[in-house]
């Protein structure tokens, strides 16, 4: 069922999502929403942190396949930063 609510657009384009819809879709301060332009207007879809984490895990798995096991991220960055100064 379609639910309809009205809100005014603020001076910088801000629109308040009404409390009922915030609760229904788990939208709170800081929640990311994707804005999709459709034929009828703008569709707001909350971005799922789980989906972003799954995507990150896939990328990390790929990078991990060729990253040398004996080198930690901290050591790599520290080494690169120190080398900038020691290379002559």
């Amino acid at each position: 069922m379609t639910e309809r609510y009205r809100s005014k657009v603020g001076p910088k384009g801000q629109v308040v999502v009404v409390k009922e819809l915030r609760k229904k879709y788990g939208i709170r301060e800081g929640t990311l929403v994707e804005q999709i332009s459709t034929e009828k207007g703008v569709l707001l879809i909350p971005v799922s942190a789980d989906d972003l984490l799954k995507e990150l895990d896939k990328v990390a798995e790929e990078i991990g396949k060729t990253w040398p096991k004996e080198v930690s991220a901290v050591e790599a960055i520290r080494e690169d930063r120190e080398k900038q100064w020691s290379k002559k």
């Binding site: 984490l53 060729t66 690169d80």
Partner: protein, 142 residues
């Protein structure tokens, strides 16, 4: 409440390498970013450093994957990158002198200081020096 944070390259590389010893912590930090609990601003030099470190050790194609992730997060306003211009350069130089830290460390610390953000780094040497000037969290705090 949303917390302002600055991420060091060590956290991002750790998040991007599955086998890294601190990855589970880096992943938890990224989760907080994706959930909107952390708002991130870091230096524009950080993605350069992250991609360079990955290219050198894991290969060019893997660094391109990392670059695309970083770009996506930037486009989604999950991470903002602060350019090293004029006043920021002067402040970073002052920090490098005063805290006796490497140039890259000082540039990242400058961003956190300017944004009044908490620096998150896994590098204890950097954390030790930076905590004189700003609030710092390391892997031990998560």
């Amino acid at each position: 409440m949303v917390e302002e944070v600055t991420l060091d390259s060590s956290v991002l590389v750790s998040a991007l390498v599955k086998e890294d010893v601190l990855r589970s912590i880096a992943r938890r930090i990224m989760e907080k970013i994706f959930q909107g609990q952390y708002r991130v601003t870091t230096s524009a030099t950080v993605p350069v450093e992250v991609c360079g470190a990955i290219s050198k050790r894991a290969g060019v194609n893997k660094a391109i994957l990392a670059k695309n992730q970083l770009l996506k997060w930037e486009n989604m306003n999950l991470i903002a990158f602060s350019e090293l211009l004029g006043k920021r350069r002067e402040e970073a130089t002052e920090l490098a002198i005063r805290l006796k830290m490497s140039g890259m460390d000082a540039i990242v610390v400058q961003t956190a200081k300017e944004k009044k953000a908490v620096l998150i780094t896994f590098d204890e040497e950097m954390a030790g020096k930076a905590k004189v000037a700003i609030k710092v969290l390391t892997h031990k705090d998560f």
